[in-house]
Point group: C2
Chain length 340, copies 2
Amino acid sequence: MDETVLLGHGSGGTMMKRIIDEVFFEAYGTTELRQGNDAADLPSPAPGERIAYSTDSFVVTPHFFPGGDIGRLAVCGTVNDVATSGAIPKYLSCGFILEEGFPMDDVRRICASMAQAAREAGVHIVTGDTKVVNRGHGDGIYINTSGMGFIPAGRHLGGETCQPGDRILVSGTLGDHGITIMSCREQLSFHADLESDAAPLNHMIERVLQAAPDTRCFRDPTRGGLASTLNELAEQSSVDMAIREDAIPVKDAVRGACEMLGYDVLQVANEGKMVCVVPADQADAALAALRSDEHGIDAALIGEVGASAQGQRSRVTLETSFGSSRVLDMLVGEQLPRIC
Amino acid sequence: MDETVLLGHGSGGTMMKRIIDEVFFEAYGTTELRQGNDAADLPSPAPGERIAYSTDSFVVTPHFFPGGDIGRLAVCGTVNDVATSGAIPKYLSCGFILEEGFPMDDVRRICASMAQAAREAGVHIVTGDTKVVNRGHGDGIYINTSGMGFIPAGRHLGGETCQPGDRILVSGTLGDHGITIMSCREQLSFHADLESDAAPLNHMIERVLQAAPDTRCFRDPTRGGLASTLNELAEQSSVDMAIREDAIPVKDAVRGACEMLGYDVLQVANEGKMVCVVPADQADAALAALRSDEHGIDAALIGEVGASAQGQRSRVTLETSFGSSRVLDMLVGEQLPRIC
């Protein structure tokens, strides 16, 4: 195990998995935490219902970028994590860590953006906290949100429920958020064509669940991108997954930026996209439901779940545009720090 | 309003009240947020029951100090905020913001301490998040926790329920935490006699509620100390409060340090103490219940609630040891930054 904290420990990839397994689970590995889903699924005092609970901290730089800002991310990120469980997100907490000297107008602008995103999602910020650290000891603003929602009786979604034959869908184009942040940071010229996809996806998820009630799971491919998300799901369910490169929606500007910069778009973060795994006979209904939502217009069926070979680790493979096939790994280390 | 963020905006005093009122409430002033209690009191899906929900970020330096560390604080602080509502705290979320280069052994030690505090409180850490920021852009480790608990049917505690004639109790000696942190930071010599009081107080609160079921409210006098807490409660209930200096328990070492350094012990932070307001006829029972708990041995009755004068703002007064009386104000600005 590494002796100090490295950027990769926050990457969403294998290094993050290591600090979670070897440090956090070692200290307090509750059953809920070990489930490995984006939201904990907890007993509720109401019979049949359950509570979904999740948290995320946001440290993105720059704080403002095309398509959003750190406040919008902080609301959408947690709303989406809660919604992946099939819950109706209801309440958010918000903890600010502000740096002495940060402009108050920026705080106002970020709060207004949080309020707007909360309205879009239909959630309420009900409790908060503010800490201020000395100049030079933070980075302007960090935001933590946690979120709570109620899972209706009878819904049991989770990354551990995928089965061979299931279909894999994504709700739209990949890489928009990560490449937007990177291009702002480096002030690259393709910047004008791009914006972050940050959006609350709870209403879209609800549409899918109405149309495809046996949906296995949702997960938002944030840090570590689609590649890491599919590897997580495959491992949780002990299955293989195969996706087709040609089927994966990617904007030209994003594809161009990735080629120029040497990024694998499948490892780039998204903040307004969902992966969902559905039984084959509900795939068409799920896809239509995704496409009927403003945040799912570019949704696509990209692959399917297979049985993993006896005694082998779960594997995710990509059938490339050239017809060859390669193993798609989780992100190792850190590609693009602080994109959320 | 100030143009930039200042340390005082995180103080727990009047400046923090200003940023909350003028920035946060302006953007998203939900009813629950405006209640001004330490935990939001929310409808639960179970009839009669309610959910308590709270959050806190922790930025204390040093990370380790006599009597605790940032991890113990992060669990106890949120458990205590949830418990002030009369809830049984159940679940915690935990978000880490780690700085690249922070020693992994320190992460382990902090996590072990969080696990220990969670065991003492009887709560479970069920969901988490880890972000890593570049070297020089954080301060080793910041921790956010949020907490959720269930409020049994029939319990309605809150800072707005104090009535003239009620008695004011504190659960033990004041100033231990703030002065311990300050003495570590400045490496002062009285340091050896002091330790932080950081502790989960939910079991103590439950004892009081069994003995004094009509208890009006609990609040932990953290940032801003007893003076700020009483001013908050007096304002919420539109009452006056009067306390007696002689009745307030303070350790000799803390009193000495405050005199030497010019601090008002009533404005110094505590992390393992509760203020509680109870009807006069249940004050003895509440005091006995506090004293029967390991964290309430030094509990004392320190004053009472009075009617506020017609048309006047709520006022908290201190009857000094010399027999005179002075108005006790909320902390203005920041006395001792980053004590939690």
